[in-house]
Symmetry: C2
Subunit: 309 residues, 2 copies
């Protein structure tokens, strides 16, 4: 593959990824149909939202593609890169969040993104970002191990250090400081990725993007028919509050999107369909609910666990 | 009253206000009991949270008192007031949010607060802040007029210009930019209030604090027995999402509290008990639901309306 950044190739990959993931999720749900919503951004570009509600397995989910662009980089974006001031730019990505009905099935999130600026008198500047993370309500060791094993396998061709670095980054990023709690059991997160080898960098983004569904689908298959009680459903709604708190208080993509006049309905598609907040709720010691925070929501090395088994 | 700032008098007023409001809310509910939760702040001070859940009328509500203090002003708070650097300080206030079951009864919020710094070699510096605002799901003109009339009456002794100024400030503050929508029908908001006359400034805070329950209680009495449908309840849960979005994305008190290591459970007591988010939901033209945003959630002069009637 050419070393010259190829936006069209990235766009083609992202559109194919959106389609593939939507089809696979539709198949594992069995009843879900996606509504497709195309939207335009007045300043340039737009997106395609694929939204699922009230499936058999998935209560709400969305797989969004967006491709936005501008003639000149905004000053706020070039403070640390003055040579890009005034350059034309494009940003594109696929972003998804899936909220299942059954509290035994974890919520998952994935995102891959590409940015490129093309100054007149200099080489183009690009970077990739992305990752995926899992948020269980009732945890299962084998799900966490499978999730992280799939993530590590995807990163392996790009070097031994990639998975531990991106896992650590994910643990740091998806953290609710005011709760002193991670959002979930982590996965991968990376940003501003540019080694100078476009083909290799694009390959890494593809490896991450394409492995998401391999990481998530077997977990959904294993858990979607498990029985659950009203109390367990109630606990799920309560824990979904943490998801809302993270996305609205900390998530850079969400806040940047809302502040920069992004499409609100596509950005906030990540919020759960039904959520509860209870004052000072705490789980009984030794319960499955307290095990979630005490055992699963830690920065555990899940592949070390696999080794020990 | 002496012109010398009197923190003890303010504290006494705030504790009495908390008690009065909790009693009046308890009486209008009929079944609600408040749980009282006292907490300490490791760095100094603490608070008393009075929390109500699953009353006959109120689904969730809390009336919080807090009084926090420190030996030296943090540098971030003294950037614009360098003479306060290193001064001992105190902040105290009462803050409340009430979420009723019945979508015909609006949600209400009120807050009054006092800040004082006492530098060694200079006069103490103080300011007051506060206000109240109303968030209906199904609107009624007479409720909006009563709410604003009570607010205006409270401000009237302090000058004709006070109510319009605080109303405008409220409309500006409780605004969701990403929705292009106000949070509710407004009321009063003020901050950094210091005319140099402590007695008068404290009097204004008391007038605002004490009129809240006179503004809210008659509205609850009028609406609490109105029948409502499952669809109307569903709309209320959906609209509560806007409340969450405002509090987590914009509210300075919430964000400052979470970032500065405040007591999370007391701060997030403002969040509704049950909330839903639906993708791209819109109300039918001409429906009561579309009337909420098109007629009620505007920066209307409700007292002008009263005049016309």
């Amino acid at each position: 593959m050419s070393q010259q950044p190829d936006s069209n190739a990235v766009k083609h990959y992202l559109l194919t990824l959106q389609e593939t993931i939507a089809q696979r999720l539709g198949a594992v749900d069995g009843e879900a149909t996606f509504i497709t919503d195309a939207w335009d951004r007045p300043e340039g570009g737009g997106g395609i939202s694929r939204v699922l509600t009230d499936g058999a397995v998935f209560e709400k989910g969305g797989v969004n593609f967006s491709h936005v662009m501008g003639d000149t980089m905004p000053p706020s974006a070039t403070a640390h890169r003055p040579h890009l001031a005034g350059a034309p730019w494009q940003a594109m990505g696929v972003s998804l969040v899936i909220h299942p009905h059954n509290p035994m099935v974890p919520t998952s999130h994935a995102n891959v993104r590409f940015f490129i600026a093309t100054p007149k008198d200099a080489e183009p500047v690009y970077w990739f970002g992305g990752g995926y993370d899992l948020t269980p309500y009732y945890g299962f060791d084998e799900d966490c191990v499978h999730w992280h094993q799939t993530a590590r396998n995807a990163c392996q061709p790009f070097g031994d250090e990639v998975y531990p670095r991106f896992k650590h980054w994910c643990d740091e990023y998806f953290y609710l400081k005011h709760r002193n709690e991670p959002r979930g059991i982590g996965g991968l997160f990376f940003d501003d990725h540019n080694t100078g080898d476009f083909g290799r960098d694009f390959g890494l983004m593809q490896a991450v993007g394409s492995s998401y569904i391999e990481a998530y689908e077997p977990i959904v298959q294993r858990r979607k028919h498990l029985p659950y009680t009203d109390q367990q459903r109630d606990f799920q709604l309560y824990r979904r509050g943490r998801y809302v708190e993270f996305n609205l208080v900390y998530d850079r993509g969400t806040l940047f999107g809302l502040q920069s006049g992004g499409r609100t309905e596509s950005i906030l598609m990540s919020l759960p369909p039904l959520v509860r907040w209870d004052y000072n709720r705490s789980a009984a010691p030794g319960s499955e609910e307290s095990r979630l925070t005490e055992y699963f929501l830690t920065d555990r090395d899940w592949l070390e666990l696999n080794h020990e088994q």
